[in-house]
């Protein structure tokens, strides 16, 4: 399934670059870095986070979340990282392979490699917190899937080169709802080393982390135990 998704995304951009060499400053090389980062983060999510994320609404609605609260580990980490999906691990390997191919084919420089190693954990964290934020309404509503569906749609913004959007939309998607921080802006920073982009990545990921943790605490306080 994921392989089909990755292939179709690659095919869309391959088709786009048949018509142009440059998408508002983004060449095919930069877009391939974007896709490589996106695939890597998405496969990480599918392997480590997906099962916990998808099952959380039913866990909360059925009152099973009580047992999560009683575990002697951090509740946040246990809620989302409680199941590893071995079948998705192959996707992770494939994504790493794609990144390596892109890096070799387009001759990644040492600075770009170092930048990637530094910025990737930040992008990964922003991605985790964004996904968690869209699942948190399950603590307040009966049908949280509407937000998850919205997240699935907004994911398309994360896979797009940031400069196709207007400055206002870029600001919203970079700082307030930082979908561009997942892959688009990190790819731009790796290629251009533009400090303004790094600032937006740092600000966007910090804000989403703080807000999601604040929302998580609110959600836990709002949760009414099954036995209460």
């Amino acid at each position: 399934m994921d392989l089909v998704y990755y292939s179709s995304l690659f095919a869309v951009y391959y088709s786009v670059y048949l018509f142009t060499d440059n998408l508002n400053g983004w060449d095919f090389r930069a877009t391939l870095f974007l896709l490589a980062i996106w695939f890597l983060i998405d496969s990480f999510h599918m392997a480590f986070l997906a099962t916990g994320t998808w099952s959380l609404p039913s866990v909360v609605n059925q009152g099973l979340f009580d047992s999560y609260l009683l575990k002697p580990v951090n509740c946040f980490i246990f809620s989302f990282f409680n199941k590893f999906e071995p079948s998705s691990f192959y996707n992770l390997l494939l994504s790493v392979g794609f990144l390596v191919i892109v890096a070799f084919k387009f001759e990644i420089t040492a600075i770009e490699l170092i930048t990637f190693i530094c910025i990737f954990p930040v992008a990964l964290l922003a991605s985790i917190f964004l996904r968690v934020l869209f699942i948190l309404p399950c603590f307040f509503l009966e049908t949280p899937y509407a937000f998850m569906r919205l997240f699935m749609t907004l994911k398309d913004y994360g896979t797009s080169p940031s400069d196709i959007f207007t400055p206002l939309v870029r600001y919203i998607l970079g700082i307030l709802l930082p979908f561009l921080v997942i892959a688009s802006l990190p790819a731009k920073f790796i290629v251009t080393q533009n400090m303004e982009t790094l600032f937006v990545v740092a600000l966007g990921s910090s804000l989403i982390s703080i807000f999601t943790i604040w929302m998580w605490n609110k959600a836990i306080n709002h949760y009414q135990s099954a036995s209460s």
Binding site: M1, V16, F19, L23, N24, A146, S160, F165
Partner: protein, 250 residues
């Protein structure tokens, strides 16, 4: 007491439209700008990009209503209730699909009217006639494609994967994220032959009057051929699946 009942009724009054807005309308509207901006930047000379994606995504939204899926009832075992009705199973699920389709059509038209209030629609009478002529094939083939995938659940525990694959394939081969003309020529030839294009591409180019009457007649025959083939496969598939299905209580 009265206050709490009134409060809960007001909450309910707003909850359903809000859930519909969040679940159906907002994701649909939010999905539109990405392909539009992508292709407007890639092909600045193409003035129909916005309208193409508006129509193709609206068509896809209308022709593939999510509640018409049967997998949940198969898993629950509640699908057995349909065997008690004096109609065939396929006719029941098709009529249910049509019911949802009417709702989606109404909302889709409402959305188009809203857009038309802001911009002038580039739809001519001729384009609209072509669209009307091809719509039965779009409806029938969208139903058959999704129902075939849903019927997999009569054998397998996980039908969701196949549905997602179909949705992803639709991005590419149905023209949800790109026009079929944008594909490399060999892939375009394949996409033009397969039935996926009836879910998004055909309704959109018909409305925009980008098809000649000759092309409409060829597509009509193509649609008819696919309807017969997929209809036959679906019938075989469903009969075999229902024989295989071990219902609750049996």
């Amino acid at each position: 007491m009265i206050f709490s009942i009134t409060k809960s009724e007001i909450k309910r009054l707003f909850a359903y439209p809000l859930i519909f807005f969040l679940r159906e309308f907002l994701p649909f509207v939010a999905a539109l700008p990405v392909p539009v901006l992508l292709w407007q930047n890639a092909t600045p000379s193409d003035t129909q990009v916005f309208w193409y994606f508006l129509f193709s995504m609206t068509a896809y939204q209308i022709f593939t209503p999510e509640p018409a899926y049967i997998s949940r009832e198969v898993y629950d075992g509640t699908v057995t209730r349909y065997f008690l009705y004096p109609h065939s199973f396929s006719s029941i699920i098709f009529s249910r699909y049509l019911g949802y389709l009417v709702c989606q059509l109404f909302l889709g038209l409402l959305f188009i009217i809203l857009v038309a209030a802001l911009w002038q629609l580039p739809v001519t009478l001729e384009g609209f006639l072509k669209f009307l002529l091809l719509t039965p094939f779009c409806v029938g083939l969208s139903f058959l494609l999704f129902s075939l995938v849903e019927a997999v659940t009569l054998w397998l525990e996980d039908g969701w994967t196949f549905r997602v694959i179909l949705e992803v394939v639709a991005i590419f081969l149905a023209g949800r994220f790109l026009k079929l003309e944008h594909l490399p020529s060999i892939v375009e030839a394949v996409a033009q032959t397969l039935p996926f294009k009836f879910m998004a591409y055909i309704p959109s180019v018909a409305l925009l009057n980008n098809l000649s009457w000759f092309e409409v007649s060829v597509i009509t025959f193509q649609g008819l051929a696919w309807l017969l083939v997929l209809g036959y496969v679906f019938r075989l598939f469903l009969n075999e699946g229902l024989r295989h299905f071990s219902a609750f209580g049996s």
